[in-house]
């Protein structure tokens, strides 16, 4: 578990340089509340307190990673209650929770604080004035995320604000764009994900099927006419990378059988693109994963590995 935490540190460090030190504070608040909430929930339910396993720390970091950097400092506390108490301990219990806790909390915050969650974006800093965004009145400088621009104003506006290909790819890949705290740098997320694969904590099946589906469907349906969408931009913007490597892959809420992992990933990717193009929100991976979460045990059951050769006559 602590390996995953380590893989989440580089994007966090980067966010400090992109959005200012406030991202660190938000993450710290989120992690602290998640750990506290985990301990409180476990105590209250008379279970063994297992905060030292690091899983609440991961939830805390991921929760902070999916909220905008300009929100008030107390918002993650609310998110933590939702993520840990409701998402993790009430809906299934540790190791058996149905939904990804961090995403459940994000969905909840989005519904209850829609303004903060959809407008507290910060533009990337162009100097190292990382303390300039420390105050609370940062909403004034809020900006729009690339996906929101693309959705409401179109591709021309996107190019005007963020540049054209291939510069826009580099900028986005490195993470110098508005977005949620931990989702901006495709590069660092990719490196973290590759390391987890190298250590065999995760496999390629979910990230590849999620990103592949997003890229393919965005290419087909994302442009003004069919087959003119920009697949690379689609996976580099929004939370696609973070979602594919660290959210959809969550051990507890994703399938374990390889074939079901592929189907699950394709489902996540397809719903993401559907929401992005047709739904009410600019980004859809959060809901896509939440929608696929409850399907994973079903997939696992349907696609159980084939037994070598069960006994004849069906006897067990």
């Amino acid at each position: 578990m602590w390996t995953v935490v380590a893989c989440l540190v580089p994007p966090l460090v980067l966010s400090v340089f992109v959005f200012g030190i406030r991202t660190l504070i938000i993450t710290a608040v989120s992690v602290a509340s998640c750990v506290a909430m985990e301990a409180i929930s476990q105590k209250a339910m008379g279970r063994k307190v297992t905060v030292s396993d690091g899983s609440a720390v991961i939830t805390g970091m991921l929760l902070a990673f999916v909220i905008p950097p300009g929100v008030s400092y107390w918002l993650p506390i609310l998110g933590a209650v939702m993520a840990i108490y409701i998402g993790k301990h009430l809906l299934g219990g540790i190791g058996y929770n149905i939904f990804n806790p961090a995403l459940l909390a994000r969905a909840f915050l989005l519904a209850t604080f829609p303004v903060a969650m959809t407008s507290a974006w910060l533009p990337p800093l162009h100097n190292t004035a990382i303390f300039s965004t420390l105050g609370t009145a940062v909403d004034a400088v809020s900006t729009a995320t690339p996906l929101a621009v693309l959705k409401t104003q179109g591709a021309a506006a996107l190019a005007a604000q963020f540049g054209t290909a291939p510069n826009i790819y580099t900028t986005f890949f490195l993470g110098w764009r508005p977005g949620a705290i931990g989702e901006t740098s495709g590069l660092l997320i990719l490196l973290g994900g590759l390391y987890l694969m190298y250590r065999r904590y995760i496999t390629w099946h979910i990230p590849v099927s999620v990103l592949g589906t997003i890229a393919l469907l965005s290419w087909i349906f994302g442009g003004p006419t069919h087959f003119t969408g920009d697949p690379l931009l689609a996976i580099l913007s929004g939370g696609a990378m973070l979602g594919a490597f660290f959210m959809a892959n969550d051990y507890v809420t994703s399938p374990t059988v390889r074939t079901s992992q592929l189907i699950y990933g394709i489902g996540v990717g397809a719903i993401t693109v559907l929401i992005r193009l047709k739904g009410g929100y600019p980004e859809g991976i959060c809901y896509a994963i939440l929608l696929m979460n409850p399907v994973s045990p079903v997939l696992d059951r349907l696609l159980k590995p084939k037994r070598f050769a069960p006994p004849l006559g069906g006897a067990k």
Binding site: D53, V252, T256, R307, L312, K316
Partner: protein, 437 residues
């Protein structure tokens, strides 16, 4: 060479670690002062001793006979005097009745002459094999004559010789194939005559090209056109009976059934060599090639030792252990058993004793299942080890039959790949003990 054969589902690639001993010729270890011969070397009831304290025995004398059920006789591995009838430590069971022989090191080794077996019929051949005390030396130790007498309703058409030797470190079969290929092929011909089959495959993993070449040559010379060598991909557990049969014939042995159900009989190459010894030379099985390897032993070797030789004597002969020694394993690192004592004697089924240094074993602590699915992917039997393990830990081991626990043959692939280092084989073993068939 065309694409190498292998089995389709699961399997792992542990470091082969065979380099230490693969190039070392089989070396005859001098007879130690004392031998402890366990009376139950095989699956089935232990033998009844035929000797008493103080008796003198000659090399190859019958000293234990089967009196009830399935079994296999025991012979004196060396000339000497019976010192006592007692109990020995055993690598897998806690202890077992045994005969200790004070060896007579002056006695010349017994000589065996080649005889012609071509005139012998099926029954006579079987009798010779049974009398020589031959059991499956590569694994569980199933009495060979029983394996060669399949149920009358099964139609056997193929003999498979198992030369996969897929466990890391072990090179005993490899050396047998290199040094005694003609004997193995002749042994195969004997088995084929007993079974009445005209097809024999010798399956060898591709990491032993020299053994493949040697066996191919011997098969061409003495196989009568009926013995074929098949190179197989290096993948553990390629040498597991069911996986081997599937690889070479495409047939799947159903759960709880024997290979004879799909018309196949499998014998290890070293067992086949023992059958040759028994039938052609009239020599009972009382010697064994054992690989001694690992960074924890001064001098790794492939040793031909007398059955009953204590591991302690082997260690002394090879110059002792090194300071790095961290763990002693009887058998291979995947399926073997950790040993607590050096006083365990070699049995007919001992293929290796490994002296592993700290760097050769995985000592990371285990943690909770992270549901990564590796164990499911690795299990060659298509089981879900993680699920079985969770049930066992939750105290619901009795309910695990639904997951097919009894099809598990404890290959250890699941434990090997688990990034959380969960003791999956141990948990599945426990499930097997508690679940109802």
């Amino acid at each position: 060479m065309s694409a190498l054969l292998t089995f389709p589902k699961g399997g792992v690639h542990p470091p082969e670690a065979k380099g230490q001993t693969a190039g070392l010729a089989i070396e005859v270890m001098p007879v130690p002062d004392e031998l402890e011969i366990i009376l139950g070397q095989h699956i089935g009831a232990p033998c009844t001793p035929l000797v008493k304290k103080g008796d003198t025995v000659a090399e190859g004398d019958l000293i234990g006979e089967v009196t009830k059920g399935l079994g296999s006789p025991i012979h004196a591995s060396s000339a000497g005097t019976v010192k006592q009838l007692g109990v020995s430590a055993h690598p897998m069971r806690v202890s077992a009745p045994s005969i200790t022989i004070q060896t007579d090191r002056q006695a010349p080794p017994r000589r065996y002459e080649r005889t012609d077996w071509s005139g012998l019929g099926r029954e006579e051949l079987l009798k010779k094999i049974q009398a020589a005390g031959i059991i499956g030396v590569g694994g569980a130790g199933f009495p060979t004559h029983a394996k060669l007498s399949p149920p009358p309703d099964s139609k056997i058409d193929t003999l498979i010789l198992n030369g996969a030797e897929c466990e890391p470190y072990i090179t005993a079969d490899h050396r047998q194939m290199l040094e005694h290929p003609a004997e193995i092929v002749e042994g195969a011909r004997i088995i084929m005559k007993v079974l009445g089959v005209s097809t024999c495959f010798i399956g060898i993993e591709a990491n032993k090209p020299d053994a493949i070449a040697a066996m191919e040559k011997a098969a061409a010379a003495g196989g009568g056109g009926q013995v074929q060598v098949r190179a197989m991909k290096v993948k553990y557990p390629q040498g597991s009976e069911k996986q081997l049969i599937q690889t070479l014939t495409g047939r799947k042995v159903p759960g709880f059934a024997l290979p004879s159900a799909v018309g196949v009989v499998v014998h290890n190459v070293s067992t086949t060599k023992a059958i040759y010894d028994a039938v052609v030379l009239g020599k009972p099985l009382y010697e064994k090639v054992v690989t001694i390897a690992g960074k924890g032993i001064k001098r790794p070797a492939n040793l031909l030792v007398k059955v009953g030789t204590r591991v302690r004597d082997i260690v002394d002969y090879l110059g002792g252990v090194t300071p790095e020694l961290a763990k002693i394993v009887y058998g291979g690192p995947m399926m073997g058993f950790a040993a607590s004592s050096l006083d365990i004697p070699v049995t007919k089924t001992t293929s290796s004793v490994l002296f592993l240094a700290g760097e050769e074993i995985d000592t990371r602590p285990h943690s909770q299942c992270i549901r990564c699915g590796w164990c499911i992917e690795a299990c060659p039997m298509g089981l879900e080890p993680k699920e079985i393990a969770i049930y066992v830990e939750a105290g619901r081991a009795q309910e695990t039959a639904q997951f097919g626990v009894f099809e598990c043959f404890e290959c250890g692939c699941c434990s090997y790949v688990c990034p959380a280092k969960r003791p999956l084989v141990q948990l599945v073993r426990l499930a097997k003990m508690k679940a109802k068939r």
